[in-house]
Amino acid sequence: MAGALVGVLAVLSVLVTTLVLDKPKYLGASTTFVRAAGLIEASVDAEHVAQNAYFTSKKVKVDWQMLFVVGIFIGAFVSARLGASSKLETVPPIWKDRFGTSAVTRAMGAFIGGCILLFGARMAGGCPSGHGLSGNMQLAVSGLLALVFFIIGGIFTARLVYGKGGA
């Protein structure tokens, strides 16, 4: 049900942004990590960011999508509080079964995984939001191809890393 409502939200977002901003905004998240990384790097070495072809092509700025990603945090926070379903978690169960209770090991796994996945998402041109949701809603060839390979890579790696995942 929540999934179907995301479909409605995605269509409404495209409609409203077309009418108000005169350009459609389809849901997406991974480019925000590029812009955020660019903003952080620019605070140290602005020249380097200004000369990088990828940062300049993505325009390092606080845009619609960055606020969209900030909004995800707020919306999830409010929903978890209202529904009393917040859960403090440092090591999730499947990880614990395989790698033990160390929060440091889990932190390293999450960090390395995050690093690889965002690199891959940018090479593929999007993540499960931009390709998976928005691409497939538009019946894009790129969206379907990306989603299929996200899933193949994920299933293969999960089996390799977690085995059959315990019980």
Partner: protein, 174 residues
């Protein structure tokens, strides 16, 4: 105005992601271990509803599409790499932020890793543009364009396949 609309849309999206229980590492990795279909049911529901709405409005000439180019080599390799990281991190970019808000503090390490991954990608991008990004680029195309059929035919097939999958998942209690 652009930022305000982004924020409102994000709040609603985050709310629905949390309600759908897809912000959990267990759900994401559970899907990759083929034990829990929550996230795929969530995504398919969104996509099936979305494609009807997008093509209804597009057909009426109200909205335009915003397609991503079909760089086959980059999508296949980048997609596989994404999958590798996704299985280890247990989050994708959108869900990582929501998971942190839900109290899953280990998501913060995934978010920091993503920022580093983005910075690394920016550094190697010039090399990729002349190699992998230029291999097998078919441009911004849709499935109905590629197949030479009406989008509604493709949508009907997707809905039939989607409903079949939902039925199968229910039967298997996934």
């Amino acid at each position: 105005m652009e930022q305000i609309l982004g924020l409102i849309t994000g709040v609603l999206f985050g709310f629905l992601l949390q309600k759908g229980e897809v912000l959990r590492y267990e759900r994401q990795v559970g899907f990759m271990l083929l034990k829990d279909m929550t996230i795929i049911k969530f995504m398919f529901s969104a996509v099936l509803v979305g494609m009807v709405g997008i093509y209804a409005l597009h057909g009426a000439g109200v909205i335009s599409l915003s397609l991503k180019a079909t760089h086959v080599a980059a999508i296949v390799l980048g997609g596989l790499l994404f999958g590798v990281g996704w299985a280890i991190a247990g989050y994708c970019p959108g869900t990582s932020v929501g998971a942190l808000a839900e109290g899953r503090v280990h998501a913060v390490w995934a978010i920091l890793g993503m920022l580093v991954g983005a910075a690394l990608y920016a550094e190697v991008y010039p090399v990729l543009t002349n190699t992998i990004l230029s291999w097998g680029n078919y441009g911004k195309i849709t499935l109905p364009q590629m197949l030479g059929v009406s989008p509604w035919l493709v949508i009907i097939v997707f809905i039939a396949v989607g409903l079949g999958m939902f039925y199968w998942f229910e039967k298997k209690e996934l």
